[in-house]
């Protein structure tokens, strides 16, 4: 079963704009990870944030985590056409082996 939801389900922006995707989850977590997927195949790991962290940056990516609201957001700044993909959040739960539970994904389209 899916852990939670990404919002929006689909997002279309122009190159150079910022893209924000949100993720909500249901249970206590140890960590939350964001992945990118092109064309429905392999996932590329973007960033991992632990439950005791509130914000992390990696290049043009900024991730926030609010454990009290059980939510996270992924911000992509100065988007490029190459950022077009589906983005998934995935949670690792407290007290279990590190299997990941994925959300339903946000499809991002960046147009020129």
């Amino acid at each position: 079963s899916q852990q939670g939801e990404e919002d929006p389900q689909a997002l279309s922006i122009q190159e150079g704009e910022n893209a924000t995707m949100n993720c909500s989850y249901k249970t206590s977590i140890n960590n939350l990870q964001w992945y990118r997927q092109n064309s429905g195949r392999g996932l590329v790991h973007l960033i991992l944030i632990r439950s005791n962290e509130r914000e992390k940056h990696s290049g043009r990516l900024r991730v926030t985590l609010d454990t009290s609201k059980k939510s996270s957001s992924l911000l992509i700044t100065a988007s490029r056409a190459a950022d077009t993909a589906s983005y998934f959040c995935a949670t690792g739960k407290t007290g279990t082996a590190s299997k990941l539970t994925f959300g339903t994904g946000t499809r991002l389209q960046v147009t020129l």
Partner: protein
């Protein structure tokens, strides 16, 4: 270095047949995971290996699904008596001690 590889990339089979899907993890990764992704959904966990043993097989949908990792490296996911509902992309990931999971390109299984 080499990433996670999966073979075959595509597999078409007939209902009732037996299939094997192979995963070669990143060298030195002790953790290996199998996920299944249906169209328009996020990946769903199937099974997790730590070394040679299955640490968590709670995601296997029924006893037609089985996975092995006899030498703690390569893993094979085996599906008996395939059904049309088994059609999906099967993803393998391997992990190190940091909780990050690195995914392979997946095997697209189509059951006719």
């Amino acid at each position: 270095g080499a990433g996670v590889s999966q073979t075959p990339s595509n597999k078409v089979t007939e209902k009732g047949k037996y299939v094997e899907l192979r995963c070669d993890p990143i060298s030195g990764h002790t953790a290996l995971y199998w996920y299944r992704q249906s169209l328009g959904q996020g990946p769903e966990f199937l099974i997790y290996f730590q070394g040679t043993g299955a640490a968590d097989d709670s995601g296997l949908p029924n006893d037609r699904f089985f996975a092995v990792r006899p030498e703690g490296s390569v893993s094979t996911l085996k599906i008996q008596r395939t059904e049309r509902g088994d059609s999906a992309v099967y993803l393998c990931a391997s992990g190190d001690s940091t909780d990050t999971q690195y995914f392979g390109p997946g095997t697209r299984l189509t059951v006719l």
